[in-house]
C-alpha cells in the first residue's frame, strides 16, 4: 500500500466519521442513532487496520478488528437491548434544543475543533495527524449531545461518540496505541455503558421515565 493511498484512506475514513457524527445530531429516532453509532464504530476500527496494512504490523490490525467488534457489535447490541425495554414514546432523543440549532452548534463546534487541534496537526502535517481535528470535533459534539439530550439512552450515545473521538485522535496522532492500553480503555467504556444501562433501568423503574430533567432533587 502506497503512502498516498494510506493517507487518502485515512482521510476518507475521517470524513465518514464526521458525517456520521453530524448525522447522529440530526436524527431523533434512537434506533437510527444506534445504527449510525455502529457504523461509526466500523469506520473507527478501519483506521488502525489501514495503519497496520501500511506499516505491515499485525498487532495494529488486531486492535482495529477488536475495536470494530466492540463498537460496531457489542455496544449497539447492549443499547438495542436497553431500547427494547423503553416504551414507544421514549424511543426518541428528546433534545433540549431544536434540530436546526443542534446542527448549527455542531458546525460551530467543528470550527472550534479545527482551531483547538492545530498543535496536534503540527506534530505531523503530512501524515495522518491531519485528521486529528475530526477526533476533537467528535469529542465536542459528544459533549454537546450529553448536555442537550434528555433521555438517559441518548446520553450514553453522546458518551460513546465522545470516546470514539478520543480513540480517533489517538489512532491518527500516534499511529495506534498499544493493545493493552486499547483493551483497558475499551473495558472501561464497556463497564461505563453497562453501568449506565443498569442506571437507566433503575431510573425507569423508580421514576417511570429516564428524563434527566426530573432528577433535580435528591430522593432517599
Amino acid at each position: 500500500m502506497s503512502a498516498s493511498a494510506y493517507l487518502s484512506g485515512v482521510n476518507l475514513v475521517a470524513g465518514g466519521l464526521l458525517v456520521l457524527t453530524v448525522a447522529v445530531v440530526w436524527r431523533r429516532d434512537l434506533a437510527a442513532m444506534i445504527r449510525l453509532l455502529a457504523l461509526q464504530g466500523l469506520f473507527l476500527g478501519a483506521i488502525p487496520v489501514l495503519a497496520g496494512v501500511y506499516h505491515r504490523d499485525a498487532q495494529l490490525v488486531v486492535v482495529g478488528v477488536a475495536v470494530a467488534a466492540l463498537r460496531a457489535g457489542l455496544f449497539p447490541r447492549l443499547l438495542r437491548a436497553r431500547l427494547r425495554g423503553e416504551p414507544a414514546e421514549d424511543r426518541e432523543a428528546a433534545p433540549l434544543v431544536t434540530t436546526t440549532a443542534s446542527l448549527l452548534a455542531a458546525a460551530a463546534l467543528i470550527i472550534v475543533a479545527y482551531v483547538v487541534a492545530a498543535p496536534v496537526v503540527r506534530l505531523g502535517p503530512d501524515g495522518p495527524a491531519r485528521a486529528a481535528p475530526v477526533g476533537f470535533a467528535m469529542v465536542f459534539i459528544g459533549i454537546f449531545l450529553l448536555v442537550t439530550r434528555r433521555k438517559a439512552l441518548s446520553q450514553v450515545i453522546g458518551l460513546l461518540i465522545l470516546d470514539n473521538g478520543i480513540d480517533a485522535v489517538a489512532f491518527v496522532a500516534a499511529a495506534g496505541v498499544p493493545v493493552i492500553v486499547e483493551l483497558g480503555v475499551s473495558l472501561d467504556v464497556l463497564l461505563g455503558v453497562l453501568v449506565l444501562g443498569v442506571l437507566a433501568g433503575r431510573m425507569h423503574a423508580k421514576f417511570g421515565g429516564t428524563d434527566l430533567d426530573e432528577l433535580r432533587e435528591l430522593h432517599e
Binding site: 465536542f140 459533549i143 448536555v147
Partner: protein, 665 residues
Amino acid sequence: MTATVESTVSAPRRGTGRPAAGLAPALAGTVTVGLGGAAGLLGVLGISGHGGGVRLGWLLPLAGVDFAVSATAGLFMLLVGLVAVAAGVYSIGYFRTSGASTITLAVAPVFTAAMLGVLAAGSVVTLLVCWEMMALASLVGVLSDHHRPAALDAGRWYAGMTQLGFVAILVGLVVLSASGGSGDMVLLGRHAGRLTPTARNAVFALTALGFGSKAGLVPLHVWLPRAHPEAPGPVSALMSAAMVAVGIYGLVRVDVQILGPGPRWWAVAVLGFGALSAVYGVLQASVSTDLKRLLAYSTTENMGVVAVGVGAGMLLIDYHRPGAAAVAIAAALVHTVAHAVFKALLFLSAGAAVAATGIRDLDRLGGLAVRMPATTILFAVGALGASGLPLGAGFVSEWLLLQALIHTEPGSGTLLAVVMPVAVGVVALSTGLGVAAMVKAFGVGFLARPRSPEAAEAREASPSMVAGMSFAAAACGVAAVAPVVLSAALDKVLGETPGVGLSAAPSLGVVLRLPGLAGSVSPAVLAAAVVSVTLAVVVLAGRAGARRRPAAVTAPLWTCGAGPLSERMEYTATSFAQPLQQVFDVVLRPEVDVEVSHAGGSEYLVERVRFRSRVDDTVELRLYRPILAAVSRWAGWVRRAHPGSVHLYIGYGAIGVTVVLVVAR
C-alpha cells in the same frame, strides 16, 4: 417576690453510642497516663539537649516524619505530660461513673499523642499533620455528647475556627519553608533571614493568627467558651490546659524563635491582642454563670496575660533590653505552665461537680462543700492559683511579668513609655477581676446551701478522680512555692531565643532574683510566713476564745421577719456579678429584662418580679454575626449556579474542557 435568672440549663451528661465495657475506661486512662509519663521523660531529654532527631521516612509518603525535641518543646512536653497524667488518672473514674462510648474513651489518648507530636515535630510537615490530628481528636471530644443542640453548635464553631486557623498556619509555614529553603525547624531558624520583609510579615501575620486562635486570644476566642464546656471533664481539661499552651508554643517557637527579632509592630500586635484578651476574658468570666464557661473565659484571660508577656519580651528585645526581655519571656513561660496545672485542676474538679449534679449553672449549684469535701478543697487550690495571689500557682509568673513591665528605665523611647504602663494596668485589672471571678465560682458553686435538689444529692467523686485532681493540686503547690524546678528549663529556652540575654535570666531559687532589675521576692518564705501566721492566729484565737466562751444556746436565727433561712436568700452568681456587670455595662452589653406584675390592679402591690439577665459575647455579636451573614448571602449566590440540573453540570464540564484546550494551545 420571684427572681428567676435565665441561663443555660444543662442536662446530665450521658455517654452516647455504645457504652464501653468495664475495663475500657481503665485501659484508656492508663494509656493516657503512660503517654503523659513518656512525654515528661522526652521533655526532660529535650531540655537537657538530648532530644535528637528521629526520622521515620516510611510513615508519610513524600515527606516522611521527623521528630526532634528542642528545649522549648521539652518544656511544653513536660507541661502536656503533667496535664495528661492528671487527666488520665481522673478519666478512669469519670468515664466509669458517667459512661462513655469507645470513641469518646479513645479521644484522650489520641489527643494527647497528637499534641505531643506537634511539640516533638522536627519538620514543618510533621507539625502540620500532628496539628490537624490534634484538631480532629479534640473535635471528636467536643462532639462526644452530640445529641444536644448546644454540643452540635459548639462543634460547628470549633470545627470552623480550628480549620480556618489551620489554613492560616499551613499557608504561613509553607511560605516560610519555601522561602527558607528547608522544612527542617532547626535549619529554618538559621535561614529565616533569607525571607524578604514582605514574606516575613506575611508569615508572621498568618502564623500568629493561627496559633493565636488556638490559644483563644480575642477576637479569635469564640470557639473556646462553647467547645471547652461541652467536652467531657478530662477532655476539657486537656483542651483548656494543654491545647491552648500548644498554641502559645507555636507563637514562641515560630514567631519569636524562628522568625527571630522582627519589626516593632509584631511585638505591639502580640501585646495588644494579649491585653485585649486578658481584659475581655476576665470580664466575661466574672459575669458568667456557667461554671465551665467561666473557666473557659478565664483561659482566654490567662492566655492573654501570657501573650502580654511574649509581646513585652519581643518589644524589649527590639529596644535592646535583653535582661528585661528575658524576664518577660520567662514570665510568659512560667505562666503557661502554672496555668496548665491550675486550669487542669479547675476543669477536673468542675467536671467532678458537674458529673455529680448534672448542673453547670452556678445559680443552681451550691452546698457541695459538705457533700464533696475533697473536690471542694481541690477546686479551692485551683481557684487560688487562678487568682494570682501568693500561695497560688499563678503568683510567681504574674509577679515576674509585673517586674518586667514596671522596670522600664526613663528615656527608653516613647512607645515603650506608653505601652508598658498600659500593660501594667491591664495585668493588674485582669488579676483583680480574676479574683472576683474565682471567688464567685468557688463561693457560689461550692459553699453555702444547695440551690437545687440535684446539688443537694451530690456524692463525692470516685477515688481515681480525687487521685487525678490531687496530682494536679500537688503540681500547683510546687509551682507556687518552688518554681526553681523550672529554672533549668527556662535557661535553655531563653538560650534558644535570639536577642535575649542569657546571663540576665531570672533565677527562681528560694528567692526570685532578677539580674539587671531591682526586685526580688521569695514565694516559699512568703508561703511559710502566711501559713505560720494563719496557724498561730487560729491556735491563739482558739485558746483565747475557749477561755471566755459562754454556754451554747440553740435558737432560731433572726431573719428580719422573713421566715426561716432558705437558699433563696443566698447570693447567686448573677447577683454577685451584678455590680461588675453594671460597671462594665458598655463593654458587656447585657440584656436585662425586669418584668413586674401587680396584684389587684394596684401599682403599690407587687405580686411578682421577673428578672432576666443574659450576657452574650459582644465580639461574637458585633464581629462574627455580620461576617457569617455576609458569607451566607454569598453562598446563596453560589448556590444558584448548581440548581440540580444534570445537563447544566455536564455543560460546566464541557466549558472547562474547552477552556483548558484553548488555553493549552
